[in-house]
Symmetry: D3
Subunit: 125 residues, 6 copies
């Protein structure tokens, strides 16, 4: 049942990405409530809840991919927080982003580090 | 004659994307007047003025492409307005952007919806 | 229920993209059966089956996005067929791809036309 | 007049990119003759014919951009030939592509070198 | 000393990506020997040899990034092998690629699975 | 020796991109000092210091690539300054960016011109 997917997804989203959840509510709910629902159901309900990879690894590969793509700063920051929430250390996050210089170029890595710096400074408040 | 292309293009640009036209004048005219001229002549004079697709469809596919690319927020907003001006409903625009989650990922769709939200809120003033 | 999403999705996929369906079975079923299932459920079961846009428009915006992205030749060809199956004319498909020169550059448009040419020649057998 | 743009463009295209010209005729003429016409008129008639940069520099920056984008192998090869035709040495082309490792990552540079290798081997026949 | 970076890098490259090493020699050595040298020194000598992440995690995040970028099929396959060599299971690789559907769209994930399928079939010979 | 690469790199970076150097110190030094070190050593120490292309050409192709990629506004601005410092005229920079409309689309070129405008206005203070 979709209801089960939604429940499972919401649980994970609230636990690892509370900012994302609030952001979704604020930005999507008014004009695209179904997108907010799909985000809960598909990425979280269908994918992140699968047993094949632990949550820390899932957040690490997402940080890598979003850094390499370079087109989703808001989501990158949100998943840097998610990675921290899943037990990733700041040093590991920096290391992941740094490695992206090899595959997506230095600007992608530098912009990724800037995003991490802003998250780390915010989260140390 | 280029003059004819320019005239045809300007007419379409002013009608569907008045913001874009002003933005071009403000941003490009001082240091790159020829780029402003090319924008009028090629996209509008040569392409949008062709009979093969109606203006609404042209704006819809542009909104789809710019959402998927994720590198042109200003132009995406401008074409969301263009789509509204060409007779597209807000619901249709949301639906186009939402579908892009399938082809370009959820961050692209979420950022597209954010852009649409800002345009819709601005245009409802 | 997921079963309902799967059924709805499969119906649309088989009708508009029979090649895609076979390709999914062949390529994904052995090593990633869940991805095949997700393709049926999310893009087709959740998105394409929504009432907000007709199937022809859905396929047109997908052709635009995939042409602009330039990283998914196989899927572009599959959706050019999907567009034809949804009532899009060859002339309209060419026109959509051509317009992408404006937003994603001439190489993207030229490669899109090459893909369309190969589909049109294959489909006219 | 468009006729003048077409003439100017065709002259440059035939001189620097004879392969491209033939490829356009073969691939685009049947199903998208207007795209072939636009390629002659806009990139060559409007842009490459401008006095601000010499032809060698124009081809060099195009080789850089297409290597970095990584989505247009055919066009990259065509412009590597164009660069050679405009007086660029093989060593300079290799150097341009190599520098792209910094901005777009090593895979982009390695794929660019592969393309150059194939052009150089072909052109030395 | 660069010599030390090269040695360290070569050791890792030969151990985890023997194909990549041979491919570099074959494709780059003739026309761009310095790029081959840089690949050994920077990605492997400087980055992969750092203590902050284990080799398995490094290969996993690379598989994620290259799947999401969608512009480096050869390198994706090479790092799928690298991931296997570093102790990643086939199921984990499939799971990483599948998750990329969320961030880079279904075509990127489907093309990634196709690449994995070809590597798995080749590696099971 | 790495020390030699670092020295050579730092000399070039400080001469052509003083802003970049300060930005690196400010943004990267606290959380990713090794990335700052790698930027000095690899792009500047290894690549820009090579004899195959003069500094003006190196900056021109970088401006082209970053405009086309559209994901690195900060770095594009930094290299527009670098190009000016290496003897490139404002007219040449505008011409490079304008040409990118052909390969990466008009939005990429328009955003590039906006970046150039901001640099030119700032640098004329």
């Amino acid at each position: 049942m979709d209801d089960k997917r939604f429940k499972k997804g919401l649980e994970l989203l609230e636990k690892y990405n509370p900012d994302s959840f609030n952001n979704l509510k604020e930005n999507l709910d008014v004009i695209a409530p179904d997108l907010a629902k799909f985000v809960v159901e598909f990425p979280y309900g269908d994918i992140y809840s699968r047993p094949g990879l632990d949550m820390k690894t899932r957040e690490m590969i997402t940080v890598a991919a979003l850094t390499a793509m370079g087109t989703a700063e808001m989501q990158l920051k949100s998943h840097i927080k998610g990675a921290l929430n899943a037990g990733c250390s700041k040093e590991e996050i920096v290391e992941i982003i740094l490695q992206m210089a090899v595959y997506a170029g230095f600007p992608a890595a530098i912009n990724g580090i800037k995003a991490a710096k802003e998250v780390f400074e915010g989260s140390s408040e």
